[in-house]
């Protein structure tokens, strides 16, 4: 019976090939692409059928054809029949592969082609997009800044727009509060970098062909010292891939495991399959590479500091925010935006979804206060009281507020008594009982520059009102002051303040209307951090839910060596580096130390760089330039979309296409993992099928296909791809989600998007922290902390040892009670990169470098895109688009600087040319310029000369916020600025870089 069934299925496959070839010319062409014979058979040969492909035509017949190039073998006919009988069960397929009851032999190219062609019979007839007449079709895509409709005609993108919902899409939610009804408009929004995408696709800086540095000869002189200087020549894909594959083999055979290091940026594209945490991780794991261990770059203070007071390790130290929008609008009397600029940072992934909600504040009597050295975009839009401390001094300001609250009985004593621990210890520090220095407003004024009277007024205002504390761009963290040298202190003291006011009480919580909308958090669609097709259970959040839903072969990096990212240059140049891990599993996981090199592994000799450049995002990045020009890196390959930043330092460049040029699937603001339920930033959950809008530009290929081509050269083609294409992977992810319960695949890929219906009012998420305030078991829908991290009973209390908010942290007492970087209670220690340090003598201005408003990481900047014309992003002076630096009129006047002068911003780490914007939105003594510039454009020798591109991170301190951590402190640095003098030699003299400097 099984024999007959399998025979029939194999015959059916033949018919299917013929039918598809008859119906679809594209498929007919496909069948002539390769010339070979494939056989599908049982192990004993009792059932077998051959399929022959080639220019002379397709044919098939029964029989084994022992000389066939590709052979797919099932152990028995029963197994074959079961696995091939539609509907295909993915779990059974994966299990069969794992159990070796199905095997695939033959040359990689043909074998992968054969399985992909079988699967192609399913997708060849799919119809995408909606006809708009006149040859225009409307498709959908996703950007980091929101989903879009794309209007396409003749392989050209005509326009991209936000998605306006049609009458069949679900109704929006309504929040009833203060006798009003608040309902968001029925469309999606875009961040500026999202609206900019067409110009990124058609950028003249696109890499269109594989290239090789002209003076790089893998078999002769490699000339690493010329990286960043030498020109490139076009080579074929075969040459490029052969170079890279042979260098991978060479690194492993000559130097051994660990010799290849993978450095990836974050978020240069969007899409769950072709993502860095997805296809890239599967490839890296399959090859075995030293990982560059990322620091929690946007959350530093929360992860290394706040965690110890309230747990939340799996959220990088940021707290739950469920239903915060309802609670805030209904119950709050005031919002304090502290180092929080959600209008300028779009919630990172949330476009302008929060804007309409914050605008609702104008219809209420909720008071608004902004605390930031810069009169930021949120302050500009909402108005309110602006309190402007000097950068890095917010902890002192916060402690003075606590001092007033204690003196004037303006805090919730009952809450502090019952829900927290260790308050008295901190109180004695705040009141000066232990060190003789009461942390009064007058004391704080000398640190932060905010008049004591204003601090007292703020403390009284806040202490008498139910107040939401919106700290950082998400309101519960993210960006801002957590990234400077006192970032850990700041995040810690934020927790202390909100605890004093009764966190969880109606109207008292963390948030600034950026998170916590009443969308359906129970509807499952995976976030990017869940790893897509990575198979990686260790370094993604796949294990939580996606792995069970989307069966796939696991992948595991056998190279356990990693390099702490902040010391990547030191690791290469000096051969050693140290740091601590970013691992959210528990509060204690961060106490694990990483040392490089790891015993038994090779030092890194080859760099596989993927994605956006980190010259603009890491700290003191002339170090990175120096690293590239060292002979210690024998080979550098860069897989990049645009010719910018680090790509110009590679030996071989592999041109990738954008996600507009390949299929994928994703939901916006769906992060998963460390930002569980990120979709609650949205007014509408929208999952998008990312249509391939146009053919890849030039000869560029999708990241997936580049990895696949390399995999084939390493014998890993079938393992990497599981025999299918990225389109098929997208369908697998669709099936793994809850989408099939509300939309068919065919309708989904036609319409392109699906709006997830909102739950009825009575089924909305419980309000964050209310369970804690009311002493109930945890009831918000997050799988954190892990069960063993509860001290008493599961779901009872917090992750801390006491289960309470700890003013004095038990975890820190145990780890190192005498650590001056991070004592058990939060204390104020002025920044080592601040106005009261010796550095300030030569470099008296504090420069803050927050997350950019118009671009995202390096996305959108440079590349000759539309963003260049936004004068708050770059400013055109004498034919060059300069990065913007904001300076107060007083400081500008003292230096003879006028609006839109070219200025040199410098210190002993480097010098960067910028366009000056003279504005009262920044306080005297302080300058403001975004981090994340994409361009690095040295006027002379790379690493030794002034950068005209705008990489302000060349000037930022490389030192970690704390020795026993791995935490960048780059968002505030001491600099000087002067008018650019054309006669300037353009060279820079750097202070000696050493491993110890970054480590200490």
């Amino acid at each position: 019976m099984a024999h007959l069934k399998l025979n029939l299925i194999l015959f059916g496959l033949n018919i299917l090939f013929r039918y598809c070839a008859w119906k679809y010319p594209e498929f007919k062409r496909l069948l002539t692409e390769k010339a070979f014979t494939a056989v599908i058979r049982t192990k004993d040969g009792s059932v077998a059928r051959w399929y022959r492909f080639g220019a002379s035509g397709y044919s098939s017949g029964a029989g084994r054809q022992d000389n066939a190039e590709v052979v797919m073998t099932f152990k028995t006919a029963a197994i074959g029949a079961k696995l091939l009988m539609p509907p295909i069960d993915q779990l059974e397929q994966i299990n069969a592969l794992k159990d070796f009851v199905i095997t695939l032999e033959g040359p990689e190219e043909e074998a992968t082609w054969f399985t992909q062609t079988i699967v192609r019979t399913q997708s060849i007839g799919w119809k995408y997009g909606v006809d708009q007449g006149n040859g225009v079709r409307r498709y959908t895509q996703m950007t980091n800044g929101g989903p879009i409709f794309a209007y396409v005609k003749d392989d050209k993108i005509i326009r991209i727009t936000p998605i306006e919902f049609d009458e069949t899409d679900p109704k929006p939610w309504t929040i009833r509060a203060r006798g009003q009804e608040f309902t968001p408009p029925r469309k999606t929004t875009l961040a500026p970098h999202g609206m900019n995408w067409k110009s990124m696709v058609y950028s003249p800086d696109r890499l269109l062909y594989p290239m090789k540095r002209v003076d790089f000869d893998p078999n002769g002189e490699r000339n690493p010292q010329n990286r960043g200087k030498s020109a490139y020549e076009r080579i074929s894909w075969d040459e490029a891939l052969d170079f890279v594959a042979s260098e991978i083999k060479r690194a492993k055979t000559v130097h051994g495991p660990g010799a290849i290091v993978n450095s990836h940026g974050s978020h240069h594209t969007w899409g769950n399959i072709g993502y860095y945490l997805s296809a890239n991780f599967r490839f890296v794991n399959a090859v075995g590479m030293t990982r560059v261990h990322h620091n929690p770059d946007s959350w530093e203070g929360w992860y290394w500091g706040a965690v110890h007071h309230w747990g939340q390790s799996l959220r990088v130290g940021q707290c739950e925010t469920y239903s915060g929008v309802q609670d805030c609008l209904e119950n709050a009397e005031m919002i304090v935006f502290w180092s929080a600029n959600p209008e300028g940072t779009s919630g990172a992934y949330g476009a302008m979804e929060g804007t309409v909600r914050r605008n609702w504040l104008k219809d209420t009597d909720i008071k608004i206060v902004h605390i930031d050295p810069y009169f930021n975009d949120t302050a500009q839009m909402l108005g309110g009281k602006w309190i402007a401390p000097r950068p890095t001094t917010s902890p002192a300001l916060a402690m003075a507020i606590a001092n007033v609250w204690i003196n004037e009985n303006l805090y919730d004593k009952d809450y502090v008594e019952t829900k927290t621990k260790g308050f008295d210890v901190w109180k004695s520090y705040i009141m000066g009982d232990d060190d003789g220095i009461p942390k009064t407003p007058e004391w704080a004024e000398t640190e932060c520059g905010v008049p004591a009277k204003d601090i007292r007024a703020l403390a009284r205002d806040w202490g008498t009102k139910r107040t939401y504390l919106g700290a950082g761009g998400w309101g519960n963290g993210h960006g801002g002051a957590c990234r400077n040298a006192t970032g850990i202190q700041w995040a810690r003291v934020m927790v202390c303040l909100i605890a004093m006011q009764g966190l969880g009480k109606p109207g008292v919580s963390m948030g600034n209307l950026q998170w916590g909308t009443p969308v359906d958090s129970n509807f499952y669609f995976p976030g990017y951090a869940e790893g897509g097709m990575s198979g990686d259970l260790h370094h993604t959040a796949m294990a939580v839910e996606l792995y069970q839903r989307m069966p796939q072969l696991p992948s595991m990096n056998t190279v356990e060596q990693s390099i702490p990212r902040l010391q990547l240059p030191e690791a290469i140049l000096e051969g050693k580096a140290e740091g601590y891990v970013w691992d959210g599993k528990s509060m204690q996981a961060q106490f694990n130390k990483i040392s490089y090199p790891k015993p038994g592994y090779s030092e890194a000799k080859m760099l596989y760089k993927y994605g956006g450049s980190i010259f603009g995002t890491m700290s003191d990045t002339n170090r990175h330039v120096e690293m590239y020009r060292s002979d210690k890196l024998e080979f550098v390959v860069n897989q990049s979309i645009w010719n910018e930043g680090e790509a110009k330092f590679a030996d071989v460049i592999l041109p990738a296409c954008t996600n507009f040029e390949r299929p994928d699937i994703s939901e916006w603001a769906a992060l998963g993992g460390y930002a569980h339920h990120g979709q609650t930033q949205l007014n509408h959950r929208v999952v998008v099928f990312q249509h391939q809008l146009i053919k890849p530009m030039g000869e560029s290929k999708s990241d997936y296909n580049i990895f696949l081509e390399l995999s084939k050269r390493l014998g890993l083609g079938a393992y990497f791809s599981e025999g299918i294409s990225e389109l098929d992977w997208a369908k697998r992810e669709f099936e793994a989600s809850d989408l099939p319960t509300i939309i068919s695949w065919r309708e989904f890929i036609r319409k392109g998007y699906c709006v997830i219906p909102n739950p009825p009012e009575e089924l909305r998420d419980p309000v964050a922290w209310r369970w804690f305030y009311e002493g109930r078991k945890k009831d918000v829908p997050e799988p954190m902390p892990l069960p063993s991290d509860y001290s008493e009973e599961y779901l009872k209390g917090l992750q801390t040892q006491s289960g309470k908010i700890e003013f004095e942290c038990e975890s820190l007492k145990k780890f190192d009670a005498n650590d001056e970087d991070r004592p058990p209670i939060v204390k104020y220690r002025p920044s080592w990169e601040g106005p009261k340090t010796a550095r300030a003598e030569n470099f008296p201005l504090q420069m803050i470098t927050p997350h950019p408003r118009f671009s995202f990481h390096t996305q959108g900047d440079g590349k000759d895109t539309f963003l260049n014309d936004i004068e708050e992003h770059r400013v055109l002076i004498d034919g060059y688009y300069y990065w913007v630096i904001r300076i107060n009129p007083e400081d500008a006047r003292a230096r003879g600087i006028k609006m839109h002068d070219i200025v040199k911003v410098f210190n002993d780490r480097g010098a960067v040319l910028c366009g000056a914007v003279v504005t009262s939105r920044i306080i005297p003594g302080t300058m403001h310029g975004y981090e994340s510039c994409a361009i690095y454009d040295p006027v002379g020798e790379p690493g030794k000369s002034v950068d005209r591109g705008g990489c302000l991170n060349q000037l930022t301190p490389p030192k970690s916020q704390l020795k026993k951590g791995h935490s960048m402190a780059s968002s505030s640095s001491m600099v000087e600025v002067e008018l650019w003098n054309e006669a300037d030699s353009g060279t820079i003299i750097r202070e000696q870089v050493s491993y110890s400097m970054a480590a200490e």
Partner: protein
């Protein structure tokens, strides 16, 4: 006959530039025959966002204003054009024909709102067309409105009489009324960009401690008349807005219980902030 009007609320604009990016997305690389030729990738700001920062830190505010072709009913460009290169559609929209206008630089120079851009390469004057090609294709509004997340940029298609009524109700104004070109673009809360303020923070000392003075009465006088009254908030702050630039001399008078009355003169050029007013 209903005609198109744009209503821009200056108080709502947060300078995100989505409208300017949407315009580039629509017109760069796209030719819309009969409506517009391709927009140059750089150098043209068919919708141009300008910023005005008022006052001195920390008593500042900042406003953005999108400026674009005002689609004037009495448009100087109409008069400046030869061969009928500029036309006024029945729905109020101005169109500069990309063919007929070739070489007619005087059209660009005629605009008192500086909203006609000269395309050096094509030698034609160009404007934001209100996305007329899309409206004619059934779109319900231009892309600037579609992409605007703050609600700053709105368009309405109304009878002129209805629009006039709405303008009165909502306090809408024109950008450069002195030119009297009868624009179809209206501005709300224009004072945020055009006018000045006088703001201050009031404090006083008691027992060696300086505190903000809440509830102080502040009045503003000009030419002997009281033109404003305010009460300080918990931060001791007051603000008089909607004062004309270069408005001359003003007197600020502050009285607070138990304190000496305090007054000072302000000669108004631009907005002024007085962060440390001490009462004795």
């Amino acid at each position: 006959m209903k005609k198109w009007n744009a209503i821009i609320d200056v108080e709502k604009c947060n300078g995100c530039h989505l409208c300017t990016l949407a315009v580039k997305d629509e017109y760069v690389g796209n030719d819309w025959p009969g409506y517009s030729a391709e927009m140059p990738k750089h150098g043209h700001d068919w919708i141009n966002i300008k910023q005005k920062v008022r006052g001195q830190a920390p008593l500042v505010d900042a406003a953005y204003i999108p400026v674009t072709c005002q689609h004037c009913d009495d448009a100087p460009c109409l008069k400046a054009a030869k061969n009928g290169a500029v036309t006024k559609r029945d729905d109020g929209i101005i169109i500069i024909d990309p063919e007929k206008s070739r070489g007619q630089k005087q059209i660009a120079e005629s605009c008192p709102h500086n909203s006609i851009f000269w395309n050096e390469e094509k030698e034609i004057p160009q404007i934001w067309t209100f996305d007329a090609h899309l409206l004619d294709d059934g779109w319900t509004g231009p892309r600037a409105q579609q992409v605007c997340a703050t609600g700053c940029f709105k368009t309405v298609k109304l009878e002129d009489s209805e629009m006039k009524k709405l303008a009165v109700e909502e306090g809408l104004e024109h950008l450069n009324p002195e030119h009297d070109t009868k624009p179809r673009v209206w501005y709300k809360n224009l004072f945020r960009y055009r006018d000045c303020f006088i703001a201050g923070s009031v404090a006083a000392e008691s027992d060696g401690i300086v505190d903000c003075v809440e509830g102080a009465t502040v009045s503003l006088k000009h030419n002997g008349d009281q033109v404003g009254a305010a009460e300080t908030d918990i931060y001791g702050d007051f603000k008089f807005d909607q004062l004309p630039e270069n408005g001359g001399d003003y007197i600020v008078e502050i009285t607070a219980e138990g304190r000496e009355p305090h007054s000072f003169k302000v000669t108004l050029g631009e907005s002024q902030s007085f962060s440390d007013i001490m009462l004795t």
